[in-house]
Amino acid sequence: MTAAIEFQGVEKRYGTTLALENITLEVPKGELVVLIGPSGCGKSTLLRLVNRMIEPSGGKLLVEGQNVLEADAVRLRRSIGYVIQSIGLFPHMTIFENVEVVPSLLNWDKLKKRSRAAELLNMVGLEPEKFGSRYPKQLSGGQQQRVGIARALAADPQILLMDEPFGAVDPITRERLQEEFLRIQREIQKTILFVTHDIDEAVKLADRICLMRDGKVEQYATPENLLAYPSSDFVRDFVGADRELKRLGRVSVASLMRPVAKVDIRFQTSETASVLGTLSARDALSRLLEAGGELLVLDAQGGIIGTISLNDLTVANMDYRQRKP
C-alpha cells in the first residue's frame, strides 16, 4: 500500500448541486499533490473530506488504508495537519500556545510541548525566544502563515492538508515562503494535499498536480507532464500560453546541457560566462538572453561539467531528455 489517501468514486452533494463527481485519485505517500482549478470547482471540498470536516455522499475515501467514515473524526483530525488560508490562529493564545494546540489535546507534558514548539518555530524561521510569547496580532501576515504551518506540524502528522496557505501574503513573501516550505518538505517528506489558485505555485511545489473543473478531475499528472501534454484545451488554457517557459522552470540546466568530459584543471571563470548545473533552465534562459552565445555549466565545486546555449533549451530537447530515464 503506497497510497496515503485514496479516493474511490467519491461524490459530494449539497442539496441538488453536485460539488464533487466521481473522484478517483491516489495520493502517494510522501508526495506533495496540488489541487488547482477555477473558483468553485471543489478543491476545498475535496480537501475537507480527508479529515472528515465534511462527509462524502457517495463512494469511498481511504486515509492510510482506513475508510474515513469508520474512523473517529476527532482522532482522525488530530492525526492530520490542517492549514487554512485565513490561518485561523487563536488570537487569545500566544504563539507557543497556538503551536501547542494539538499536543495539548493529546495531553503531552509541558516540557515536551514547549521544546517541540520551539523546534518547529526555528524550522519555519521564527526565533522562539523572540516570537514565542507574542500574540498573533503582533505578527505580520507572513509570520502568521509560518506559525500556521508550525502548528499543523506540531504532533508530527503523516498527512498535511493545506488550503491556500500562502494566499494572504504579498508576492515576495509568498515566494520566500514557498522556497522555505519546499526545503522543509524535502526534510520531513509528508504526504501533502495543497490547494492553490496559482499555477506558478503549483508548478513550483508539486510532485503531482490535480487540475479540477466543475467537481471533476480534468487531469492528474506530474507538473512536467501536465505542461508537456495537456489532455484538453481547458488544461492548455489553464496552464497558460507560457507553458514551455514554465516547463523550463522545472528542469535543471544539468539535464539539458551538452556534457563535457570532466576536466581536472579548475578554470577561473567569470560570473557572466557560467551557470551552476543545479540552476533551473528558466533562470539559465534569462542569463543566455543577457549574455548570448554559450555558457559554461559548473558543478558545486566549480568544475566544468558542460555547456549550454539557446539551442539546448528547446521543447524538442526537453521532450528528448525527459523521455530518457
Binding site: 488530530r78 487554512i84 485565513s86 494539538v102 489535546l105
Partner: protein, 244 residues
C-alpha cells in the same frame, strides 16, 4: 503579575471608598456646609457605612444570581441542544428589562411580601439582559476561521467552548457583567419601597420629609459605588484579555 497587581489596587480602592463611607463626621460637615444645619442633613437612622454595606450586598447577591443563571443560559442556547430556545431566551431577557423595576417590585409583593426577596427578584430580572445578551454576542462573534481551524485540529464541542469560544467571548461577557452590575447598584436604590434597606433609605426618606440633605447623601454614595464598580470591572477586563 499583572492580574495580582490589579486585584490589589482595586481592593485598596474599595477599602478606601468604604473608609470614606465610615467617616460619619466628614459627611456631616460636608452636608451641613452645603445644605445648612436645619433640618439636620445627615440621615440619622443608620450610619452611611451600614447603608452602603446593605446596598452593595443587595446588588451583589442579585448579581450572583444573574451570573449563576445568565451565563449557563447564554452558553446553553448557543449549543446545538439549546439552539431552538435562542430567540425565546433573547426576547424573555429583553422583556425582563423593559419591565420597569418598580413595577416588578410591586408585582412581587403579593408573592414574596415586604422585604429583600422581592428586591432580589426585581433586580435579578432587571440585570439579566445585559449579561445574557452580551454573552450571546461574544460567543457568536468568535471568528469562523478560528472555529474551523479548531475543529480541523480535532477539538470536540466541549474543548471548543472552553479553549476557544469562552476565552474569546470573555471581553464581551465582562462588559455585559459590568453593565448589569452598575445597573443593579443604581436600581437597588428602590429597595426601601418594599421595605428593604440600602442607600435608597435616605433618598426615599429625604423625598418624603423634604430633606434634600438625605437625598444628596444617598445619591452621592450610590454614584460613588457605581463609579468604582465600573472602574474595577473595566480594569479586570483589560488585565485578563492581554491579546485584545
Amino acid at each position: 503579575m499583572k492580574l495580582a497587581r490589579a486585584l490589589i489596587k482595586n481592593a485598596l480602592l474599595w477599602a478606601a471608598l468604604f473608609g470614606l463611607f465610615a467617616w460619619q463626621d466628614g459627611w456631616k460637615i460636608l452636608l451641613e456646609t452645603l445644605m445648612g444645619r436645619n433640618p439636620p442633613p445627615l440621615f440619622n437612622r443608620a450610619t452611611l457605612l451600614q447603608l452602603a454595606l446593605e446596598h452593595i450586598s443587595l446588588a451583589g447577591l442579585a448579581m450572583l444570581g444573574v451570573l449563576i443563571v445568565g451565563l449557563p443560559l447564554a452558553v446553553w442556547v448557543t449549543r446545538s441542544t439549546g439552539k431552538p430556545f435562542l430567540s425565546l431566551v433573547s426576547s424573555l431577557t429583553a422583556l425582563g428589562q423593559t419591565f420597569p423595576p418598580v413595577a416588578v417590585l410591586f408585582l412581587a409583593l403579593p408573592i414574596f411580601g415586604f422585604g429583600s426577596t422581592s428586591v432580589y427578584l426585581a433586580l435579578f430580572l432587571y440585570g439579566l439582559l445585559p449579561t445574557v445578551s452580551s454573552t450571546l454576542v461574544g460567543l457568536s462573534s468568535v471568528n469562523e476561521n478560528a472555529r474551523d481551524a479548531a475543529r480541523g485540529m480535532g477539538m470536540n464541542e466541549g474543548q471548543m467552548l472552553v479553549r476557544l469560544e469562552l476565552p474569546l467571548a470573555l471581553p464581551a461577557v465582562l462588559a455585559g457583567l459590568r453593565t448589569s452590575f452598575v445597573l443593579l447598584i443604581a436600581t437597588a436604590a428602590l429597595a426601601p419601597l418594599v421595605g428593604a434597606g440600602g442607600l435608597g433609605q435616605p433618598i426615599i426618606a429625604g423625598l418624603s420629609v423634604n430633606n434634600l440633605g438625605y437625598v444628596l447623601e444617598g445619591a452621592v454614595a450610590v454614584a460613588l459605588l457605581a463609579l468604582l464598580a465600573d472602574y474595577t470591572l473595566r480594569d479586570l477586563e483589560r488585565t485578563i484579555t492581554p491579546w485584545a
